[in-house]
């Protein structure tokens, strides 16, 4: 039961992305990552942007689309145990504000990266593949879908 809780929310994970200041913290942390990468000597600006894009997309894929369940026990008898964080957000309601924001941010980052890498071919391929790994799982048609049984249990 929700014993000792200050709310009647069954799964607190669903509301985390809507909390106050989360979007700002997310944007600031991307900025921080970029600054850290820029501080590495002997690495050129296009490479830094591609690295930012790739590391951001990798972390997003791992945290939102790979890790399943909740880090705490919930009173919903395990309904969310097999769901990734993206699928848990807002109890599965599609096209909420947070979902739209998290879909738009990798796209904006991709556009910036394309600009700063001067549309070089190799960088383009790498960045596009990286963007697709993060955009395709967010499609509503792929809600709960596990391709080839990867990450099912």
């Amino acid at each position: 039961m929700n014993v000792g809780t200050a709310h009647s929310e069954v799964n607190p994970n669903t509301r985390v992305m809507n909390s106050r200041g989360m979007w700002l913290s997310y944007t600031l942390s991307i900025g921080l990552l970029h600054l850290i990468l820029l501080s590495i000597p002997f690495v050129s600006v296009p490479v830094v942007w591609t690295l930012t894009n790739m590391i951001h997309n990798l972390c997003m894929y791992l945290l939102l689309h790979t890790v399943k369940g909740t880090p705490f026990q919930t009173p919903d008898q395990g309904k969310a145990r097999l769901l990734t964080h993206w699928e848990q957000m807002d109890y599965g309601v599609q096209f909420t504000a947070s979902r739209k924001f998290l879909t738009v941010t990798p796209i904006v980052l991709y556009l910036l990266t394309s600009f700063y890498t001067k549309y070089d071919r190799v960088h383009f391929v790498v960045n596009t593949v990286s963007l697709l790994t993060v955009l395709i799982p967010k499609l509503p048609q792929l809600h709960g879908v596990r391709i080839f049984g990867i990450n099912k249990y």
Binding site: A6, H7, P12, R15, V16, R20, S25
Partner: protein, 549 residues
């Protein structure tokens, strides 16, 4: 109090044609304006508003950073445990069963093993005296970072207790006060060993129920042995399939469990938000049940008097106006507000000058203000007679034990003044004064506190996980015991420390607590409030012109 809580409530009372003591209220205001000028009376009316101030944005960002760092370290520690560099203290699969379907879901206790275990010396602290205004704690230390504890054998004496629900100070060991309880144990024994419906209906239970009904101003009441079970076992008797329950967002677990057990449809409205409630009522009446569109058999609005984690008070006049307009029923859970608010301790109905007959089901517990255990449901005679035969508690749960019953009887008699002393009313006034003083001083110091100015439950917002822990430990070092709550029990950005005031706290104790709070607040940078703070001069005048009970 002769004033009502908020301006808009007054207008709705007028529209629905309810009467209340008009002349007394107007007379009071005239006196204050004569004595102290118009400024103070408007300031005191504003005092009754509830505040849920938001902290600056940097606080939220730092909170997320804190959780992020702790999560990263959690993953790192898990990696070390998997590799074998760190000892694993958790339950693990046996070697020969490692290939079976896993028995333990590792990720589900990520939070417990990586966050909670590191800091769990702040919860479940064993106490070894009665939980009065001061108590003794058993000193315990841990050699392996809180995985196991051992007692050193010493006690920490005279820790000021800011966590117990001891609102009227009845958690006391006074031989005179408890004499009647001891007599009843001699007369009736310690336990009842039966349910109310079988042979457990003692005359002392009848006496208690009569007294509770008188106290609340209703026709009849029924009492149960356990407060939680009062909600969870009686709501299924009142509503069932085909009924609609509109429950507040922050309702207690017992109400949620009772609602789920009943099989009714549950819809949640935003906390204390009358627009949300009205929208849901309109939609329920227009659209009816989900697929068949038949009318709902019953619509029950479930609210609490004081919400224990927020300190906010329900907007009772507005809820009653809505209930009358849309012909719904109202279930009011006064677990924290009975005995603690209102001029003579009758709860939120008295606080808002509402006729108790307007609330269909009045529920409350004896655990908080009466120093006993158990709960009651009160209302019209037909309702209570129905519950006597249909309630699950009455049929299956054992009846309240006689010494506990006598403790409640003597506490209620003390509050009502029937024992011939003014002790009860003194305690209620002391609690009201303590509440006002403490809240005003906290606001003046610059802490963000939630809730209504009348409620003795005071959450002080701490926000960041590290500060929550540091606060609890620092206060214990200064011999003050506080209750802190963090995520996931609260929303992620609203970790808090909850202070519960008591009539047994003296002004000296409160001053000591406030002084230490001030120092800890400066040490940990907890004073986030951006409001204009009232100066000490206003404060003195406010508490000087006396209590307006």
């Amino acid at each position: 109090m002769a004033r009502s809580a908020n301006g808009s409530g007054l207008k709705q009372l007028n529209h629905s044609g309810m009467k209340w003591d008009d002349s007394g209220k107007n007379g009071y205001h005239r006196i204050t304006t004569e004595k102290l000028g118009a400024g103070i009376s408007t300031a005191s009316r504003q005092n009754k508003q509830e505040s849920f101030e938001q902290a600056p944005m940097y606080v939220a960002v730092c909170t997320y950073m804190g959780f992020g760092i702790v999560t990263l370290f959690g993953y790192f520690r898990d990696f070390l445990r998997a590799v074998g560099l760190e000892k694993c203290n958790l339950a693990q699969e046996r070697e020969e069963q490692k290939d079976f379907v896993p028995l333990y879901q590792d990720f589900e206790n990520f939070y417990t093993r990586n966050l909670y275990m590191r800091v769990r010396d702040n919860w479940n602290r064993p106490i070894c005296s009665l939980p009065g205004p001061v108590f003794d704690l058993m000193e315990r230390v841990s050699d392996d970072y809180n995985w196991t504890f051992r007692f050193t054998g010493r006690t920490i004496p005279n820790v000021i207790n800011m966590g117990s629900y001891n609102y009227l100070g009845f958690a006391e060991n006074n031989a005179d006060f408890l004499k009647t309880v001891a007599d009843k144990v001699q007369q009736y024994g310690a336990g009842v060993c039966s349910t109310r419906q079988e042979i457990g209906n003692l005359s002392i239970h009848e006496e208690l129920e009569q007294l509770v009904a008188n106290f609340l101003g209703v026709e009849s009441a029924m009492t149960y042995g356990m407060g939680f079970a009062t909600n969870s076992m009686n709501i299924p008797a009142l509503v069932g399939k085909g009924c609609l329950i509109l429950s507040d967002e922050l309702n207690h677990t017992s109400l949620i469990l009772g609602a789920r057990l009943s099989g009714a449809t549950i819809r949640v409205f935003k906390h204390n938000n009358m627009h949300s409630l009205e929208k849901m009522l309109k939609e329920a009446i227009c659209c009816g049940q989900p697929r068949t569109h038949r009318a709902w058999r019953k619509i029950l609005i479930m609210v609490e008097g004081i919400y224990s984690m927020e300190g906010s008070v329900v907007r009772l006049p507005e809820v009653i106006a809505l209930k009358k307009k849309y012909k719904a029923h109202l279930y009011l859970d006064e677990a924290h507000s009975i005995g603690a608010v209102g001029a003579t301790g009758r709860g939120v109905t008295e606080l808002f000058h509402v006729n108790p007959a307007d609330v269909d089901v009045m529920m409350g517990t004896f655990t908080k203000s009466f120093g006993a255990s158990g709960g009651y449901i009160a209302g019209k005679k037909e309702l209570v007679d129905y519950l006597r035969s249909h309630s699950h508690s009455a049929v299956y749960a054992s009846a309240m034990s006689p010494p506990v019953t006598e403790q409640i009887i003597r506490a209620i008699k003390c509050i009502m003044g029937k024992d011939g002393t003014t002790e009860g009313i003194r305690r209620i006034r002391q609690l009201a004064e303590n509440t006002r003083y403490f809240r005003a001083r906290l606001k003046e110091m610059g802490f963000i506190i939630y809730g209504n100015d009348d409620s003795p439950v005071i959450p002080v917002l701490l926000y960041m996980p590290g500060k929550v822990v540091a606060f609890a430990r620092e206060m214990l070092q200064r011999k003050i015991g506080v209750v802190v709550v963090g995520f996931p029990a609260t929303p992620i950005t609203e970790a808090r420390a909850r202070f519960c005031l008591s009539a047994a706290h003296t002004r000296a104790m409160l001053n000591q607590v406030l002084q230490h709070l001030n120092e800890v607040g400066d040490l940990l940078c907890l004073k986030f409030s951006r409001r204009k703070r009232p100066s000490s001069l206003d404060l003195c005048e406010e508490t000087d012109f006396g209590l307006d009970s």
